[in-house]
Symmetry: C2
């Protein structure tokens, strides 16, 4: 049942103008339009955009919005792909980009305190210069923010070894609808006093509270890393090779995979680039590993990894490149090129971040391909093999009337994934675009508890309404 | 305000006897007394003990207890030190020891599905034989259970590298008061569909629901490990050495410390054992590191660690021993001997698992010693340096009338720790014994939200009443 929210009145606009002076509040449609969508396809115009610079403004805003029943949508760089920041019920978009200060980095405590609008990649580079390390690295790392990462519990490449964003949040200040501030957690690396509200809010996607400050756990920066890119004849061979690596007792910080169609797209992308990329045309699957640790350890582990790959079932990889130092990023450039490269094969794509139990990855990839064949569409699969987190891409051409088939393929993919014991989303969230499927994964009892917990935080349902399990 | 619960009636006993036939339900005081306490000092007699063997029994039990307002206390091996399992309001103790089956270990999924009564250490040894690894290792690992570990979000030695229990729980089946079962999470290593109820229940200490099944994340077993025990002239020198290790880019799986008084107790313990233990009498502090990973990596990292320690400020350690393979456990035997050894110095002790930000460990240790001196008591501090998680022990002699001073020291310790931005508990929980201090750490707003979340799960307050923030 959709809640009906009132429109922003003239007095509401006056209130916001007073609270966010100058260009801190925007109302003109031509200004609002830039805040209507994210990296997904849905869009909706808010009634206003506000840009807080301090916690007190967020408190006053949420006191007012709670009383007046005005929807509130948090947003920073809006790199989300499932419409999580889209203001589908109008109301106010809260942009966190002016709360972008790193308040404290403490090399003794191994802790950083930040405002939510800090860009993750820039934060990480600042830390690395000081010998510190914040592991979470969603693909959007250079544009997305820590606040957005925490709100969505962002994953990324290094989750296999280091876990996801949730595992690196020690505490936060969170403003509730009504304006009250919760000070949760601490700078302690371990803290079990009371219920774990910190990890509940991490990943709650703006449906419960707004963050005004985050306390993050840091690690010592690994001294070195090495990466290995290997091409195999087919997907089974690649999976056997990966199993061999685990059997050798190695825990890579990243383990990415690419299927045949992904490699085909990369072959087009790399055709005119220097170097011999012919293996991209011949391989049926590829794996990309990264190991990190102390310099000598990484060097020897890199060799162990290579041996494990060469000694794996079949004839060993048909391509293998190991790189460290400045050359290493060249291998990761291949990985980062995937998403844009897929447009060489089709003008439109629908990419879903489903996850399955690790042992079901082959079935998921083959199943996706079968769905594509049945519906006359090409499909490409890549992603985080170590987590079973697949980026399943359905390629299509809207101009040839394939949009409907792509939608059918997406639905069939979700059915497949759930039948394998998987999840609709490993890291992007449910948001708008997977809402219709939510009840296929979560039963009524689970959704009921979630709804009642939401009521504790947000009894009037003003926080990111129209998303998730609502 | 204390809720008044009804006593168990004759018809209640009949109900329990029917639901838990044979010796599945106990009522005789001489049988109940064994279920009245845990590793802390508090005790209370329940009205009954029941021993479920399957989920349906837990459902029926919680349906009845919810209707009849009967307190329910979950318990397995009851190794908790803060009275978390003590049935202070009477009612029913639920022993999980008959739900002790490992239901599934999947080497492809890197997942195990277990019942809550499985003993953690036995589970881990079973995994290791298959090349798998479940990292959490509370000191009680060989006697405590996975259900208890998850309920308390147990920490342990390896948290520095691998995180705590919460970080290794992928999903669970949890029975709510009223009997409904929640199926939460999945076998996926990443899953962000809906609110994260799995991590909310991990660490909720039996106050929200009872677990009937747990899905745990596994890792490949590290091929090898090496440990280094080093003695230093004083605590500052030890801390500088630890900082040097982090600066070398090493991330030990464990980093334990021992202060002067702890070493003194160990010196007594080891006096008559073979080997040269004289350094225990001379050192002012000691550190114990463990590194794990592939064989060659660990070998070289062990040397890097040793170099970092020898090259640290001052004259380097006055004692250093590096061991791997069968000799390694000898070093950890020293660590495990601490708790019993402290009784060489005093017949009574109060041990608190406070945590502070990592950079405040020196102040915490020195502050504890100062409190002891002021009150005429000896104090010993050891624990997980890497997490800032201190086991602060106040040594006293009840027979000499020192119990009151010990209580004052405990209160002063909590004040000290909170003034350093620390927490009352890094891993043991609040339970009964730290309840009186809870409001010094958590403000009214935070406690209010916790209470209202508890109401969502347990509106009649029957789950582990009398503990935590209640």
């Amino acid at each position: 049942m959709q809640t009906l929210f009132p429109s922003l009145t003239a007095s509401g606009r006056r209130f916001l103008r007073g609270l966010f002076p100058g260009d801190g509040a925007l109302f003109a449609p031509e200004e609002l339009v830039g805040f209507s969508g994210d990296a997904g396809q849905e869009q909706a115009l808010p009634g206003a955009v506000v840009r807080p610079e301090q916690e007190e403004q967020i408190q006053d805003l949420l006191r007012w919005a709670h009383l007046e029943r005005i929807p509130v949508y948090a947003r920073a760089r809006a790199t989300n792909k499932v419409g999580q920041t889209v203001p589908v019920r109008g109301g106010v978009v809260v942009s966190f980009l002016r709360m972008d200060r790193v308040l404290d980095v403490d090399e003794q405590d191994f802790v950083a305190v930040v405002q939510p609008g800090v860009v993750t990649g820039a934060f990480q580079r600042g830390l690395e210069a000081r010998g510190l390390f914040y592991p979470p690295d969603p693909a959007s790392v250079n544009i997305s923010t820590l606040g957005g990462n925490v709100a969505t519990c962002a994953g990324g490449m290094r989750a296999l070894k280091y876990g996801v964003t949730r595992d690196h949040v020690l505490g936060m200040r969170a403003v509730l609808p009504g304006g009250e501030v919760l000070a949760l957690g601490s700078r302690c690396h371990k803290d079990v006093a009371g219920l774990d509200l910190t990890r509940l809010l991490a990943g709650s996607a703006g449906t419960l509270a707004l963050f005004s400050e985050l306390t993050l756990k840091l690690l010592p920066k690994p001294e070195a890393s090495v990466s290995v890119l290997a091409g195999f004849r087919d997907f089974s061979e690649a999976l056997q090779a990966a199993a061999q690596v685990f059997r050798a007792g190695l825990l890579p910080s990243a383990l990415e995979f690419m299927d045949r169609v992904t490699l085909e797209a990369l072959a087009v992308e790399y055709a005119e680039k220097p170097g011999d990329h012919d293996w991209l045309n011949r391989a049926g699957a590829a794996l990309l590993f990264r190991l990190d640790g102390s310099g000598v350890a990484v060097e020897t582990e890199g060799r162990t990894l290579e041996t494990a790959l060469r000694g794996s079932a079949g004839q060993g990889p048909l391509f293998l490149e190991r790189a460290s130092g400045v050359d290493e990023e060249g291998l990761w450039e291949v990985r980062r090129s995937i998403s844009p490269s897929l447009f060489h094969l089709a003008p439109d794509k629908s990419g879903e971040d489903v996850a399955v139990p690790r042992g079901r990855v082959l079935e998921a990839v083959q199943g996706l391909h079968a769905i594509g064949e049945r519906l006359g569409l090409r499909t490409a699969c890549f992603g985080h093999l170590g987590d079973g987190n697949l980026h399943a891409n359905i390629l299509y051409d809207r101009s040839k009337g394939q949009a409907e088939a792509a939608q059918q393929a997406k639905s069939a993919l979700f059915d497949l994934v759930l039948s394998l014991g998987g999840t609709l989303t490993g890291e992007h969230g449910i948001g708008l675009s997977k809402r219709a499927w939510m009840s296929r994964q979560l039963g009524p009892a689970e959704q009921d508890v979630m709804r009642r917990m939401k009521d504790v935080f947000d009894p009037h349902g003003i926080m990111n309404p129209g998303k998730e399990w609502e």
